[in-house]
């Protein structure tokens, strides 16, 4: 593993921590139905993003 990849991985972990903390602090005020809709939309968005990245790789 190259040195830069370690830093990319750490950057990813920090990004994940930021997202989790944001969700914990700011999404608490939202009702259950809104949270469920946002979660589902996020899952769909990630699937689409992965598909687009896969097309770029081809």
């Amino acid at each position: 593993m190259e040195l830069e990849q370690i830093f990319y991985a750490i950057a990813g972990l920090f990004g994940l921590a930021a997202i989790v903390y944001f969700a914990w602090e700011y999404l608490e005020v939202l009702p259950r139905i809104t949270k469920a809709i946002l979660l589902f939309a996020l899952a769909v968005l990630l699937f689409i993003a992965a598909g687009m990245l896969r097309e770029v790789k081809r």
Partner: protein
């Protein structure tokens, strides 16, 4: 709330899998697919848990998820000829989804505010809030439905449900022998929310407190406070209820 342990239990293997996938394949999109699957599993767990889904709903959701994943796998296995059009459609859909998520969050957070009024009762009687105890026969603590001291009325003017913020209250009884801490009761449902256009009322009660005979009580001081502070150190109360 079992969805939270599911989240944490799956998160560690996810991070491990992501690292292994990236080291072996160097393909970022595999990482995003793994993250998408994790997010979907959390979505399903959260929805089934917070809406108290019955067993039929759980079975249907699991079957639908199995079919969905199989269809996605079949779709990914095919080679698409018109890649540019597919990419353009995917980009449009992703953009619309992202904008929708941001708008939904912003509108809910900014405009989804409940209107709340807290009304204390006009007065309480000595019999409601106290009972006599003797030094020789102390009465053990028991949880009873004590008198109502405050009524929280929460109105939702928004188009979506609004979660209710649970507030902590402390109460101090002013007696002839000094200030006495009184136990405040509140009970809420598991995920208390007010439906759109609805008004919900929540009662705040106190547990009756035992006092020696011939102890007079004059008023009940109520504080909106999460932190415990002895009655003797508290300042002006938020609500004052006279006792007759």
């Amino acid at each position: 709330m079992w969805w939270e342990p599911v989240f944490w239990i799956l998160l560690i293997p996810l991070i491990v899998v992501e690292i292994i996938i990236f080291v072996k394949t160097k393909r970022i999109y595999w990482l995003i697919y793994a993250l998408a699957i994790f997010t979907y599993v959390v979505t399903v767990s959260y929805t089934l848990d917070v809406f108290d889904a019955n067993r039929n709903a759980i079975i249907l959701t699991l079957i639908a998820s199995a079919i969905l994943m199989a269809l996605i796998g079949r779709h990914l296995g095919k080679t698409h000829k018109k890649q540019k059009e597919v990419s353009r459609a995917a980009l449009t859909m992703a953009s619309i989804l992202a904008i929708f998520m941001i708008l939904l969050f912003a509108i809910s957070a900014i405009f989804g505010q409940a209107e709340e009024t807290v009304q204390p009762v006009d007065s309480l009687t000595t019999q409601e809030i106290t009972f006599t105890v003797s030094r020789d026969e102390p009465r053990p603590f028991e949880q009873v439905d004590g008198p109502i001291i405050l009524v929280r009325s929460i109105t939702n003017p928004f188009v979506l449900p609004i979660p209710i913020e649970q507030k902590e209250y402390r109460a101090c009884l002013v007696t002839s022998s000094g200030l006495q801490e009184v136990f405040v009761q509140q009970s809420y449902e598991r995920y208390p929310e007010v439906a759109p256009g609805d008004t919900e009322e929540f009662n705040v009660r106190v547990n009756p407190t035992g006092l020696q005979e011939e102890t007079n009580v004059t008023e009940l001081r109520v504080y909106e406070s999460e932190e415990y502070v002895p009655c003797s150190d508290r300042g002006a109360p938020d609500y004052l209820i006279p006792i007759e």
